[in-house]
């Protein structure tokens, strides 16, 4: 390929990237923009990208006591799901990565298969279980339901990361006098940390935005999570877009913050230098 053709190719690819990025980012930008627009501007035609008279009014309105309650509920449900999924999943994944089980492939196939069932297909049986257990309208109902979704994926993800921790290191630790558990804590967990972090972020995102289970299992306002709570703005006679978008922004902030603070953790290559590659 000539230098000219190469340059042309790079230019073409860059344009393509910009187009794709614009398509992906436009809704987010629109969300931000509408959240700062007064109600009169939200539906102005022709639509304008930037708010003409930016205002924080939507945010003030959105920060009702209910919103704070929903926020707290979401934190509790996501946090508890995370706090149960990760330790449980980590131990299961470690076991599956280190020991040969005859049923291993069956188990892993089931984990993958479980992903193919849409939530809609599972919601009725799970609802019935939750109801007969008397757990409707409790945190526990959501936490249990979320764990059934997050745990298999978490096991699957973390197993992949644990497989990449060289066994030699555990053997070295054993020689150095460490018990298997000590080696797991001192050596394996620190080396699998990027994977544990990535899995945690996955769990948080899944639970933070979950709508269907939350809508079905909770009935009182005190138990609602954020995604369900936002439904309040979509009323029978109209949608309060300004407040809806303002609360959308506020819901997104924690997720973005988590990503921002943890992105360094995602950087792989932590195991470089452990053993000759």
């Amino acid at each position: 390929m000539t230098r000219h053709a190469k340059r042309l190719r790079i230019a073409g690819l860059s344009v393509l990237q910009i187009v794709v990025a614009a398509l992906v980012l436009l809704p987010f930008f629109w969300m931000l923009s509408v959240s700062f627009k007064p109600a009169t501007e939200a539906f102005a035609i022709p639509a304008e990208l930037w708010p003409r008279n930016p205002t924080l009014e939507n945010y003030v309105l959105a920060l009702r006591p209910e919103f704070r309650r929903y926020f707290l509920n979401s934190m509790i449900v996501s946090g508890a799901t995370l706090a149960i999924t990760i330790p449980l999943g980590l131990l299961a994944a470690y076991s599956l990565s280190r020991f040969q089980y005859r049923i291993l492939s069956v188990f892993l196939a089931m984990v993958v298969l479980a992903q193919f069932f849409p939530a809609g297909a599972m919601i009725i049986p799970i609802y019935k279980i939750v109801r007969s257990a008397g757990l409707l309208d409790t945190y526990a109902s959501l936490i249990i339901a979320y764990i059934t979704v997050t745990l298999p994926v978490a096991i699957w993800m973390m197993r992949g990361f644990l497989m990449r921790v060289p066994r030699t290191l555990e053997e070295a630790a054993a020689i150095d006098g460490a018990s298997p558990l000590r080696a797991f804590v001192d050596i394996v967990i620190p080396l699998a940390r990027p994977g544990i972090v990535a899995t945690s972020v996955f769990v948080l995102i899944v639970t933070w935005q979950e709508f269907l289970f939350a809508l079905s299992f909770t009935s009182s306002k005190e138990m609602r999570t954020l995604p369900v709570g936002m439904n309040d703005y979509i009323g029978q006679y109209g949608v309060r877009y300004g407040e809806l978008m303002a609360s959308s922004v506020m819901i997104s902030v924690p997720v973005i913050a988590v990503f921002f603070f943890l992105q360094r953790q995602f950087v792989a290559g932590l195991t470089a230098g452990a053993v000759k590659g």
Binding site: L169, E171, D176, G177, S179, G273, A274, V275
Partner: protein
Amino acid sequence: MTSVALDRVVKKWGHFVGVNDVSLEIADGEFLVLLGPSGCGKSTTMRMVAGLEELTSGEIRIGDRVVNDLAPGERDLAMVFQNYGLYPHMTIAQNIGYPLKVAGVPRQERMKRVQAAADRVELSEYLERRPHALSGGQRQRVALGRAIVRTPQLFLMDEPLSNLDAKLRVSMRAQIKHLQKELNTTTIYVTHDQVEAMTLADRVAVMAKGEIQQIGAPLDIYNRPANAFVASFLGSPSMNLFEMQVSDGELRNPSFRLRAPDNAPSALTIGQRPEDMAAVAPGEGDFDSEVYTAELLGDTALITVRIGHDLVSIKAPKDTGFRMGDRVGIRFDRDTLHYFDGVTGTRIEFETGGYAA
């Protein structure tokens, strides 16, 4: 004082026998090398001593303790791995100090001992770095430092030099030998490199197919290999072996004949090391051939000729005049011929050497 004894040790995986009935005594302070090709069971044998593999049957004793059921950490040994086995998320000081930390040695003393071990392996300047910032040779020295820091009864080294480049290997080899003699710690060292075995070992145990073929001082094994396998495995270039048929008092193969020793079996393999053979003028040797290649090694030259399908190596003086394609005479030295049973490969000693007619 730590001797090590392996008593009829067997390791099987299903029907596959990895180590078959290995018995071995290692004296206190001895440097024993387990030598063999890959898959011969040498690493498995060491891993059983370390406690990283369970025995199928047999017994291993370190000192006067049977260690079969002890965890690796309870056996008071240190191991150096081929791929270093360093903890990448810890600094060099933390790596070297980890065995002490696990043992609950107080921080102050730990730091003192880490410093002393690091001095020994010349790593004092690198204590705050992490393994990925070190070269291969430095990493292996960290592994050595970690091994010596808690003064174990026994060192195990599993091909510690094979990931290093040739030049570094020679200097690390010397360091390991010096360190071992200085500390006078019983050591088992696994390698497939016969030069390492020869240079490092007090005694070498040559293994093949899960069994010990021969145990002895390097020179004894070199001079009197117990079978054709050991003969070909030790020495570089390896010993020339010829399969001969015996009839009418002669050893015959399609290319040449020699006089047979008395009481020779009907099939005999004869062997001679390259340095014991001579390349002479055509007609003056035991047979003639054509020079396949002539290579100058520096101190000597290596002449290779072809006999049938096999290549035969002969060490000649460096100023040998032979060039590729020249006719050359090949002469055996009768006194240094090795004889092996043509069927079993076992060494046979004859009362009188085989002299040509």
